[in-house]
């Protein structure tokens, strides 16, 4: 989890939702940074084992911050600037075509 430094430059904030919960973050944050600032560490599950993952590199290399943004999956949260009203969701991992549960 992350928190703003003490003497951060003041700036406007933006509202968004993560898995339906309303949150706010600083304008200028990427989606991944906004989630970290709101105490969200895990934002996806892996497609192989279903393990929880969260942002790892923050620079577009690792693809561990993949999220669903406004209904579009596989977005790299660390490269997408946060916008007002964004609907961000956990990216579901392992699929169960046979109808089983993880």
């Amino acid at each position: 989890m992350f928190r703003p430094i003490a003497d951060i430059k003041p700036g406007p904030s933006l509202g968004f939702t993560f898995d339906g919960s309303p949150m706010t973050a600083r304008a200028g944050d990427t989606v991944a940074a906004a989630l970290l600032a709101n105490g969200i560490q895990a934002c996806r599950q892996t497609p192989v084992s279903g393990a929880a993952r969260g942002p790892y590199c923050m620079m577009g290399v690792c693809f561990d911050c993949l999220v669903v943004i406004d209904g579009v999956g596989n977005r790299q949260g660390c490269l997408v600037p946060l916008r007002e009203g964004m609907r961000i969701e956990t990216q579901a991992g392992r699929r169960h075509p046979d109808g089983g549960q993880s």
Partner: protein, 482 residues
């Protein structure tokens, strides 16, 4: 500078297309534009600066000394570009570079969810560096990040880890980050230094150069700042992140003894290596650099790759740091301008002379750092079988070793076919070096003999809708219409 915010604003063809707006890309774009050429600078990030000067024009960190004076030097590079006629496209991903039929190149770009193919006469790849993979048990747990990731959160968003933070690894950037985070008020409970003591032996012959280099003063200052305030533990030989669904601690082995330190964030760093995905996919030759211990595109004195017309500038062609990256960008740009016929060889050489002299100075002492901070074998090729190596496909060290020895797999491309390592969305960026290392170890050969992944465009995932919406070229239509 012309800001490109939508893909249809691109006015092709460009004389020179540059990929990456870190120090190398910024300097190359500015230099080429100042000489009157049409330049496109495409960058994946929302703001210029690359990683080292990340968010230098937009950072919410108000106190200058938190990030240090070197960071703010990036502002001048951005300002120089702003005064030129170069086009700068932030948030723009270059997913393909290939020769076209007219002797130039075709680039595949995506911006704002739309793709386009554009043409350029010369290409300069300034894709920079990425963190060297640091595979330990538990490194995939949420709360474990690269040190660079924490630095990016600080630079671009003014964020620091909020709980007990442990920093582990080695190298100048680790000490820089420890100092920056401490200055920004983070609670750093331990700095775990993995520098192998015997590295001093191999690094010692390079010490005299280091002592005369600009690195020395900077390094001493960093160490003094970090060591004064923080709890350093040296001689760390093994690490494991603990936790069920997020990191709750780190197990440390040093001097044969093991202890667990409770933490809420674990930041890992074992130096940086060139980001080679785009140059590799474009077909540029690469080699294994035994000093920096990483795959590196092969370039000449003008940073030209094995493909005429594609140059690779900055840390993407070997780690040299921010200052050298800008100089290498400058030199690569001059040669690109010469190739396009706008400078003679003599003009190019005389323009490049001051940058060359500076470059030699800026790289002095680098070898010492490379040798001293080369990670130990046990971190390059993790001994614990359960350690995940390919984070995307969750392939472990044990599986890779087993497949290499029992099935006689001799290279990473064959390994892909058996285990899918390197076939997830990161396209081998986080597993490639380790997979090579493990195969090399099993067969008792060098990483150079083992080879690296053959990568293919698109080097970043793009949607089928983006591809399908591309206007078909005449050649593409002919290929499928009978």
């Amino acid at each position: 500078m012309i800001a490109i915010n939508a893909i249809d604003q691109l006015a092709e063809p460009y004389d020179i297309a540059i990929v990456g707006a870190g120090p190398a890309g910024l300097a190359a774009a500015a230099r080429a534009a100042e000489l009157g050429l049409s330049v496109l600078l495409a960058d994946e990030n929302p703001a210029p600066g690359g990683q080292i000067y990340r968010a230098v024009t937009t950072t919410p960190v108000a106190k200058r000394d938190v990030l240090g004076e070197d960071y703010w030097k990036g502002g001048a590079l951005v300002e120089r570009l702003t005064k030129t006629t170069a086009s700068y496209a932030p948030g723009c991903t270059v997913w393909s570079v290939a020769p076209d039929e007219e002797g130039g190149f075709e680039l595949g770009l995506s911006l704002g969810g739309r793709a386009r193919l554009i043409s350029a006469g010369q290409i300069i790849l300034a894709t920079g560096a990425q963190e060297r993979p640091f595979p330990i048990p538990g490194w995939t747990l949420p709360g474990v990040m690269t040190a660079g990731a924490a630095q990016i959160a600080l630079k671009s968003s003014g964020l620091v880890p909020s709980g007990r933070t442990v920093i582990a690894g080695c190298g100048p950037l680790l000490y820089l980050l420890a100092g920056q985070l401490a200055a920004a008020g983070a609670d750093i409970v331990a700095v775990l230094d993995t520098t192998p003591r015997r590295n001093w032996l191999s690094a010692l012959p390079a010490l005299p150069d280091f002592l005369r280099s600009p690195y020395l003063a900077k390094g001493l200052k960093l160490m003094a700042a970090a060591r004064g305030k923080l709890s350093f533990r040296t001689g760390v030989t093994a690490l494991a992140a603990q936790g069920a669904d997020k990191v709750t601690g780190v197990t440390v082995t040093r001097g044969g003894k093991t202890e667990t330190i409770a933490c809420d964030a674990l930041l890992l760093h074992h130096g940086v290596i060139p980001g080679i995905n785009l140059s590799n996919a474009a077909g540029c030759a690469q080699h294994f650099d035994t000093v920096q211990h990483c795959w590196t595109p092969t370039v000449d004195d003008w940073f030209a790759s094995s493909i005429p017309g594609i140059a690779i500038a900055g840390d993407g062609a070997g780690i040299g740091g921010a200052e050298s990256a800008a100089l290498r960008g400058e030199i690569a740009a001059l040669d690109a301008v010469r190739r396009l016929g706008h400078l003679t060889e003599g003009q190019r050489d005389s323009h490049a002379a001051p940058a060359r002299a500076e470059l030699a100075r800026s790289l002095r002492g680098r070898r010492f750092l490379d040798l001293l901070y080369r990670p130990a074998e046990t971190f390059l090729a993790p001994p614990a079988n359960e350690t995940i190596i390919c984070r995307c496909e969750e392939v472990t060290a044990g599986q890779i070793r087993d497949t290499a020895s029992r099935l006689g797999v001799t290279g990473p491309n064959q390994m892909k076919a058996f285990l899918r390592c390197g076939m997830g969305p990161c396209q081998g960026r986080l597993c490639g070096p380790t997979v090579v290392e493990l195969i090399a170890q099993v067969h008792g050969v060098s990483p150079a003999d083992t080879g690296y992944y053959r990568l293919r465009p698109p080097v970043k995932p793009i949607t089928l809708a983006e591809l399908a919406a591309l206007p078909p070229s005449e050649a593409a239509v002919k290929a499928v219409v009978r």
